[in-house]
């Protein structure tokens, strides 16, 4: 891509400009690597040190002796497999709920346009204005004793899945995308006698893949990163998420194990990110720009 930016290409092509450009580039790459990879490196290597070396002053850059056993110990003692499983279970459950319910809702609001649809969309968008933390207390009291059903949802996956559906931002993104699907496409399907459900499945969804990808990532990452809500709603240690579980066990394990645990807990999303980085980046900027 050769878009014209702040500094004119003519200047950059001069020898002085070139030297400056490469110096700055080199510096930025070095500093950024240090600032963003450095902490991760420290985390991974500290997890490999033994307790004595971890506490050593000044700290060692490369572990004198490598103790990969810390990872195994941390994995077991902190029951990371359980925490990891819980988190994945909640995240992908929330994803499924959002994909089904939010997509259906956005489709209905965009294409089926029921009576009161505008009002409902408005009421949904209003929740964007209300900070999540303000609602934490009444939400908590609600899940304790869900009205009508009279169920206590605490410590059940529902307490993560169902509230995750109330993601007005995702509905908004989806609706805007559906809005841009030409009417003719749907009409053609309708003339063929397709029900709205079939139209959604065989016409709308296939061309909505990019936005579905973005929404999915938001859904998974949202659950993955949440802290206050799962801390309150899933107090049972066997049902906690990675974030909360590690937090509550942090004071009970040696530091080097804790760092090993943190490194392991960081891995899944990092891998996810590296695989899907292109989708994530483009989705993020697209979503942001349109808002």
């Amino acid at each position: 891509m050769t878009t014209r930016t702040l500094i004119s290409p003519a200047r950059l092509s001069r020898p002085r400009g070139r030297i400056l450009y490469w110096t700055v580039l080199f510096l930025v790459v070095a500093v950024f690597t240090l600032v963003f990879i450095g902490p991760l490196y420290w985390m991974v290597t500290s997890g490999l040190k033994d307790t004595e070396e971890f506490a050593r002053i000044p700290p060692t850059l490369v572990p004198d002796a490598v103790h990969p056993g810390n990872y195994g110990e941390a994995w077991q003692v902190m029951e990371l497999s359980q925490l990891l499983f819980n988190t994945l279970y909640y995240a992908f459950g929330a994803l499924a709920f959002q994909l089904v319910l939010d997509v259906a809702a956005a489709y209905s609001l965009s294409k089926l346009r029921p009576v009161l649809g505008k009002a409902i969309l408005g009421a949904m968008l209003v929740t964007l204005m209300i900070p999540a933390t303000v609602l934490v207390v009444p939400q908590y009291l609600t899940v304790l004793d869900l009205p009508v059903f009279e169920r206590n949802l605490l410590n059940t996956p529902w307490v993560i899945w169902l509230p995750s559906v109330t993601n007005a931002f995702n509905i908004f993104l989806l609706k805007r995308f559906f809005d841009s699907i030409p009417r003719e496409l749907l009409d053609a399907a309708a003339i063929d006698g397709a029900s709205p459900m079939r139209t959604l499945r065989s016409v709308v969804l296939p061309i909505s893949r990019p936005i579905l990808g973005v929404v999915s990532i938001f859904a998974v990452v949202g659950v993955w990163k949440d802290f206050l809500w799962p801390m309150l709603a899933l107090p049972d240690p066997g049902k906690q998420t990675l974030n909360v579980g590690i937090y509550s066990l942090a004071s009970g394990v040696p530091e080097n194990w804790l760092l090993a645990a943190l490194a392991m807990a960081s891995l899944p999303t990092l891998i996810l990110f590296l695989i899907f980085q292109r989708n994530i980046m483009s989705g993020l900027t697209a979503g942001g720009l349109k808002g």
Partner: protein
Amino acid sequence: MRSSGFSTPHRRRTAVTFVSALTLLSLAACGTSSSGDQDPAPGGSADAATPLDPKTKLTLTIDCMPPAAKKAELKQWKEDVATFNKTYPNITIDGRSTPGQCLEPPRFTAMLKAKSQPDVFYAYFTDLDQVLDNDGAADISAYVNEKTVPALADIDPDVMKVLKKDDKLYALPTSNYRMGLLINRGLFEKAGLDPDTPPSTWEEVREAADKIAGLGKGIAGFGEYSAGNTGGWHYTATVYGEGGEIVGPDGKAAFNDATGKRVAQNLYDMRWKDDSMGKTQLLKWGDLQKQMATDKLGMFLAAPDDITYMVQQLGADYANFGMGPMPGQKATLFGGNSYMIKKGISSDKIKAAVAWLDLKTLSPGKGQFAWSRTKADGLPVGLPQPAFFTGAAKEQDDKERADHATMPVENFRAFTDNPVDGKAEPPKAQEVYKVLDTVMSTLLTNKDADIDKLLDTAEQQVNQVLANQ
């Protein structure tokens, strides 16, 4: 501001949560198979004072049963149930266990709000107000007497007092603690101090802390909390030890006096003049335990079962720790845990609950006090906790504990031989602690802290909190 007696319940710090749960679990032992001294009065009178008819058929739900992971404790629980069923064959004890600690504040709050507590439920001493606010516990005054709980007269009246409100009894104790000075014996020896005589005044603490910090390598002499309201909690304990008050009888802040200032000044001096409290502050429950378990800390204020926590969770060794009384020894903060009985259950169920609790938690030589059994099952014996018996019951229990000790009990002698009067937490404890937390964090993080001004502000704020409805 309209005062309408809105009593703010004292929420519990996770701190004690963890500890007490562990204690209960680790100490829960089971009765010997001797049975039959229940002496139930025959005749099916519905009178609350009469013990339960042995033929009664019912199911009693109860929480805080040891989880499967705690094999020995669970085995003892089951044996206790079997013993209980010899007297009451038709009663089913339906125990419920939680994988982690028995009581976690958010879960407990939730349980009360949803009224989903079992018939018999576990609670901290300080939870009483909250439970009553939620109308959750039955008044069991009429059910508890010398017949149903033979050791009643020997239970520490201070303990019974905190389980009552307006002279009505709402709970029976399972464990209690008094705060003291926990020491790392290894570091004491290294610093040339005598671990058998822990410091008993703050001057001595300061001196010892200085020596231990002199060992270098990032070792701190004395550690203190200053976050998550636990700093305020310990400031309170320290002031109590020096004979001071946090909230006076007039219901107003009472710590802005010579005692309160002395306590603050001493902490300030240790932190900044001697530099014996380490550089990292804003610690809360769990941080000091970790430091001490890894031999980075010489002393801190704690309950005896903090040792259990360090041994079981952090891999430390019992022999490395000792305890002395609360420095100052005028009084010490005390607390503990209990079982309450759900409001609204039948009178027979309440009677069954009292009978079960008597066997499990209130009889010397039985239940959790069957120390020979505890030892045989490979669980620790010898911690000075629970300690709610007085008189003959105490003598009997102390002897059995010493006979079956699995850890060097002489390390706790300084603590057990110098009993300090227990004192309960101030009213609106958590809200007061929040204010005092700021005092602590200022003392420990600000070299230019102005103690007079600090306590003036805190006094004014505590008064505001106490007046605030």
